[in-house]
């Protein structure tokens, strides 16, 4: 590697945007080049100084108030509650039971919506040339890449020997929340494994469903929700999920 190349790539190294192979190349150039080594050291020093000093600004309170005032204000009596009240009064069902009923209905709706968002995210990842933010077949590169980007640390497990090749990770967006996607490949098929936090720690066994021609295997374990999405056949996707789950149990 030449200095010209290293001068650009050492920034990607600092920013954690290089895969393990390129990172090693840059590091070996730097080990033999005092000039690039000095640059790297200074840039790291600068980043640290900026992070420590804090170079951001705080929005003035007046700006916040102006924006708040320009948005529609919440109404006193939301529609849903009005409906509920009518329902509870007009029948023998207590208001409490009615609330529970509505909650269940909403939760189910939520679930359907999230399933279809998961499929959309999978489709987006295939179309936009944006399958991975970090490209690596090494779980020890992919896992730390998520650090600081999410409020959970998605387990990254190498299943290459079992026929599912780890190809990288990506930040995605589901239900208006950042979510981690770990990306695998089997032959020509991409598997997106979406991982998000859940408040419940109980283990929920896997369910495989088909939406818009894609198979989704959903399960929950140890406070994490998983959705594996792929155009792989149902039994192959189920096989992926089982191997993943048993690898996690083996690891922990």
């Amino acid at each position: 590697m030449t200095c010209d190349e290293a001068e650009i790539l050492l920034h990607a190294l600092i920013d954690g945007e290089l895969d393990a192979g390129h990172a090693r190349e840059v590091e070996s150039h730097i080990a033999g080049c005092p000039r690039c080594a000095a640059a790297l050291r200074d840039y790291r020093e600068m980043s640290k100084a900026i992070a420590e000093a804090g170079a951001g600004y705080t929005a003035p309170a007046a700006l916040r108030r102006r924006i708040e005032a320009a948005l529609p204000q919440p109404r006193q009596a939301p529609n849903r509650r009005a409906v509920l009240r009518g329902f509870a009064m007009g029948s023998a069902v207590s208001a409490l039971a009615a609330t529970g009923l509505i909650a269940i209905v909403l939760r189910h709706d939520d679930f359907e919506r999230i399933q279809s968002e998961v499929v959309s995210a999978h489709l987006r990842s295939l179309q936009a040339g944006h399958l991975t933010d970090v490209v690596s077949t090494d779980q020890h590169t992919v896992k730390p890449w998520f650090n600081g980007k999410l409020d959970v640390s998605p387990p990254v497990i190498d299943l290459t020997t079992q026929g599912f090749t780890l190809i990288g990770g990506r930040l995605d967006y589901i239900d208006a929340r950042a979510i981690g996607a770990v990306v695998y490949r089997r032959r020509q098929h991409v598997i997106n494994l979406f991982v998000s936090q859940t408040s419940s720690t109980e283990r929920r066994p896997a369910k495989v469903e088909t939406i818009q021609g894609f198979n989704i295997r959903h399960w929950s374990d140890r406070g994490l929700n998983y959705w594996a999405v792929s155009d792989l056949a149902r039994d192959e996707l189920a096989d992926f999920g089982e191997r993943f789950e048993s690898a996690i149990r083996g690891a922990g």
Partner: protein, 186 residues
């Protein structure tokens, strides 16, 4: 401006508040650096949030922060255009860039001199504000806003390769300025 029925929807407003308002300081920071003027930055951020709210129905990702930034950047570019045609251009007002001596020395020099000093946030802000526009933008998005290269490329509407070369140049210029400051303060 066209008003859609959904613009009066309090439920939409609630979701928008929850999703977008946490990034108000970040948006203000970006606008401050792009426009180098606090009043213009306030106006730009307000306009950005109103635009974002109008388009919130069609928001499907990416992450909220880069989505807001892409809108904000367009608002700021409109402001550049206005300044360019205004009789007295405000963009030359940034007094620090005039006083900046020496101007950038490029990376060829002084690799041995090591950055010694801790800088306070005022110094950092002044040095960053003195960077030329595309470099300043890339640098702030990466170093202060922590966006990934891909996100920066999307916000600035340039290829990732351009992000990388701009970032390399921005950091090199900043390093030279930094070393020059240390030289002066000795």
């Amino acid at each position: 401006m066209p008003i859609k029925a959904s613009d009066n929807d309090p439920e939409k407003a609630r979701r928008f508040r929850e999703a977008a308002l946490p990034y108000l300081d970040d948006a203000f920071t970006l606008a401050r650096y792009l426009l180098r003027n606090a009043d213009d930055a306030e106006d730009a951020v307000q306009e950005c949030y109103l635009r974002a709210f109008r388009h919130f129905d069609s928001y499907r990702g990416p992450a909220m922060k880069p989505w807001l930034f892409a809108i904000l950047r367009n608002v700021c570019r409109a402001e550049y255009a206005r300044r360019a045609t205004a009789p007295t251009s405000a963009i030359e007002d940034a007094p620090e860039s005039a006083k900046q001596t020496p101007l950038w020395r490029e990376t060829q020099e002084t690799p041995e001199a090591q950055l010694q000093r801790r800088w306070d946030s005022d110094t950092i802000r002044r040095l960053v504000a003195a960077l030329a526009e595309p470099f300043r933008e890339t640098f702030v998005l990466r170093e202060i806003q922590n966006l990934s290269y891909r996100e920066i490329a999307d916000v600035a509407e340039v290829p990732v390769g351009t992000v990388m070369s701009r970032l390399a140049r921005a950091r090199a210029m900043l390093r030279s300025a930094w070393l020059a400051e240390e030289e002066q303060s000795k």
